[in-house]
């Protein structure tokens, strides 16, 4: 099968037309939890993503306000079965001044694979990568994998010459693959370059005047990404005009206080959800009817109210099923899940276990304070069905270890899960495929051949219609099996001063549909 994706080029062309001369100004200050990892091959969490999306570029970008991807460092690509051929943009230079070529793309992919850390699992299916000519790269996968293009949004291109000139100690001619150097310096083509980096204090970035892509009028000339500020400190700093955007981890009460003082809110949604995981291998939750009873008894409305910040803004959006609204296979937004105690009692009547004989261990992650409130809500909801419950606070370090076996995994675990690449495959496969059981994402230990088959169909389907059908069927199956209570779709909220404009986080038509991508600083603007 040969498909030529030309349409996407028009979006990029439009971006270039609107890109004018740089009119950067001012400093943007924001914060995240530590530590900010600069090396894009080690990037995993939110702070790392913010750094990666601004210092480095990728071959493609998620389309704004629409599904699919648009060219970025690549101007287009051809797909022939499991072979992807990319044509690179001409005239792009790294921060060092070196031109970006196919060799850099090959090196970046091989570097991530060789280091085997961060999000390198996204490249597990890559069999080979070669530079056909200076502006053409061919990637061959071991088998067809439709979400591969989506995976590329997390594969940043690094400057091979700069990295090779700064290798640290290690085996072979690639030494440490430049880890030590890239953990303190930038070697990308991104709109921002690193000025200074203290992993516990802040990373200072300056706008790259030679950036090839769109830069908004009034884009910040300097960005200070601060780490590990306390909520009280952030609140005081925003109120005094010394800080611009909070992290999403501020307690709702602090968000409310900031709103009262005139702060605005930026939001990111559609890429993940709050999932209440049920251990399907442990009685009484090994019986599907007991699981269905819990799912029906859960008070979805109150759970959302817990995340409410203002009447219009909450940390969640009503859930309609296993797939967040906006992704392939999601149910319509008006099919919100709701508590139904009658249905819960009916399911319970069919359960082989007597609830009074069991004590459900409801765990919450010690570092995520809001989960304690959800645990208390569940205790109330499930006690009404006759279950005994015990609330257990589990530090993340311990949680990741406990979930490696069904015996030590709590009956009920709470996690926020996000699609790493924005594609449903990176959200659902790690949670529900039987081969992926026993991680923090999959403490359900679900083992259902039909679910496995649908997940595989979703990643193999050649077109959007095929993927939509596969994920819709998967959604229905997962609703029926109830391995999880689908609490609410995630809506990340950030408090911000009114001197900042960020269309990608306030206008759904400009949203990227990828966690952290809304923080493309070049598309923001600040007023003095």
């Amino acid at each position: 099968m040969l498909r030529l994706l030309k349409g996407t080029a028009s979006a990029a062309a439009l971006a270039f037309l609107v890109a004018g001369p740089l009119a950067a100004q001012g400093t943007l200050r924001l914060d995240e939890v530590p530590v900010g990892e600069l090396d894009p091959a080690l990037a995993t969490d939110y702070a790392d993503s913010l750094l990666m999306f601004n210092i480095y570029d990728t071959l493609v970008l998620p389309a704004q306000g629409a599904p699919g991807h648009v060219p970025h460092l690549a101007t287009g690509w051809e797909i022939d079965g499991a072979t992807f051929t990319f044509t690179l943009r001409e005239g792009v230079t790294f921060h060092s001044g070196n031109p970006m070529t196919a060799d850099d793309v090959v090196f970046s992919i091989e570097r991530m694979q060789a280091m085997g850390q961060g999000l390198s699992f996204l490249l597990a299916s890559v069999e080979s990568v070669e530079a056909v000519d200076p502006l053409t790269v061919r990637v061959t996968l071991a088998e067809p994998y439709t979400p591969f293009i989506a995976s590329l949004v997390r594969v940043p291109i690094v400057d091979k010459a700069t990295v090779m000139a700064n290798l640290g100690e290690g085996e072979g001619e690639t030494g440490d693959w430049g880890q030590a150097y890239l953990s303190a310096n930038s070697a990308g083509t991104g709109a921002y370059r690193v000025v200074s980096h203290n992993p516990q204090e802040e990373t200072v970035m300056a706008l790259n005047p030679a950036y090839f892509g769109e830069v908004a009028d009034g884009a910040p000339a300097e960005v200070r990404l601060r780490y590990g500020l306390e909520p009280a400190t952030v609140r005081a700093m925003i109120a005094r005009g010394e800080h611009d955007i909070s992290s999403q981890w501020l307690p709702p009460e602090v968000m409310v206080a900031l709103a009262d003082e005139g702060a605005q809110f930026f939001q990111e949604s559609g890429t993940g959800a709050f999932y209440i995981k049920l251990n399907t291998q442990k009685p009484p939750l090994d019986d599907v009817n007991c699981r269905r009873a819990l799912a029906a008894a859960f008070d979805y409305t109150t759970a959302l109210a817990i995340t409410q910040i203002t009447p219009d803004v909450a940390g969640g959006i009503p859930s309609t099923g296993a797939v967040p609204v906006g992704m392939f296979g999601a149910n319509p937004a008006d099919m919100a899940l709701a508590q139904d105690m009658e249905a819960a009692q009916a399911h319970l009547a069919n359960c082989a276990h007597n609830p009074a004989d069991h004590t459900l261990e409801i765990s919450w992650i010690a570092e995520v304070a809001i989960e304690e409130r959800f645990a208390l809500l569940m205790q109330q909801n499930f006690s009404a069905l006759g279950f005994n419950t015990e609330i257990v606070r589990v530090p993340w370090v311990l949680f990741t270890e406990r979930v490696t076996s069904p015996e030590t995994t709590p009956h009920i675990s709470q996690v926020f899960v996000t699609a790493t690449t924005g594609d449903p495959d990176t959200l659902l496969f790690p949670m529900y495929h039987s081969s992926a059981a026993g991680t923090w994402q999959s403490p359900e230990f679900l083992n259902d051949p039909e679910v496995d088959a649908l997940l595989e169909a979703g990643r193999m389907a050649a077109d959007d219609a095929g993927r939509e059908a596969a994920y819709a069927a998967l959604n229905a199956r997962l609703m029926d099996l109830a391995p999880t209570i689908y609490g609410f779709d995630r809506n990340s909220v950030f408090a911000a001063s009114t001197r900042v404009t960020a269309p990608a986080m306030t206008d759904p038509a400009a949203a990227f549909g990828l966690d952290g991508m809304g923080f493309a600083f070049r598309l923001m603007s600040v007023t003095e």
């Binding site: 530590v35 969490d45 699992f121 992993p199 590990g228 500020l229 400190t233 005094r240 370090v397």
Partner: protein
Amino acid sequence: MPPLMRQILSRVGISLLVLWGASMLIFVIARVIPGDPARVALGPNATAEQVEALSQALHLDRPILIQYGFWLRDLVQGDLGRSLYTNRPVTQDIAEFLPATLELVFVAALLMVALGMPLGILAARYRGRWPDHLIRVLSLLTVSAPAFVWAVVLMLLFAYFLPIFPIAGRLSEEFAIPRVTGFLTIDSLLAGDLAAFADALHHIILPAVALSLSGIGQAARLTRANMIETYDKPYIEMAQAYGFPESRISRTYAFRPSLIPSLTIIGLDIAALLGNAFLVEAVFGWPGLSRYGVQVILRKDLNAIVGTVLVIAAMFLIVNIIVDILTVLLNPKIRHAEKRG
């Protein structure tokens, strides 16, 4: 060899043994508490193969005694290993974060001694009168609330409602001081930038006060109690009967003897500031070693935990040695006993 030097060498020797014991203890404790450091370090999306590979690279798949052997071998070469939290050598992290904490602790200790002891002297001097009552109430107030409560209260009062001091950080954005010692007050002076020096002092005042407040109260109470005890001694009564000036009695005959017992406790309090600094550093966005220490514990970053604990233990031991020396210098009985010995 002079007796004092002999005592210092003996203390240093004992301290090295204590450090070795502490290293073994913390090495074992860090490893037996639940949680897989490799899994935490690699992040939530790591595969089982990635976790296993990192575990092997860190020797976590080997018996604990072998792991300790590897660690000792590297330590001899000045290598404390790599932090999984910052992905940098632990020695580099300590070199970067320790000066910030030491600078903060030093200023806090200075405030403790410079304010706490005179307040104690004043209270003892005016025992039972209003200055004594006032100082006792204030001391009790400062001692009764932990440093992080003071940090939040002071920040809200003097940085938010009354914007006199900066809210967070060590230096304003407009200053860029070349790093020499890591102590911004010193580096700014070395750079000849007095404006930056003033700015660094401006930034350190609030966190240092927050950190030192309970110590100031403690020092005042301790000094007062010891001085009152000394005031009851017959030789003070005799000095008073001879008509010596009260200031001389207070300074020379009452304060000095009462300083010796206070010194040991105040010394330990100063060393304890290193640990207490964590929440103050968190509130004021101070990039110090205490905050780093807590972060690495939460992430079970084994090398960084051991490195940080060893540095803090070494600081405790150094302060203890200094206190011992000062005690010898201040106490003629010990000094003469040393000479006779």
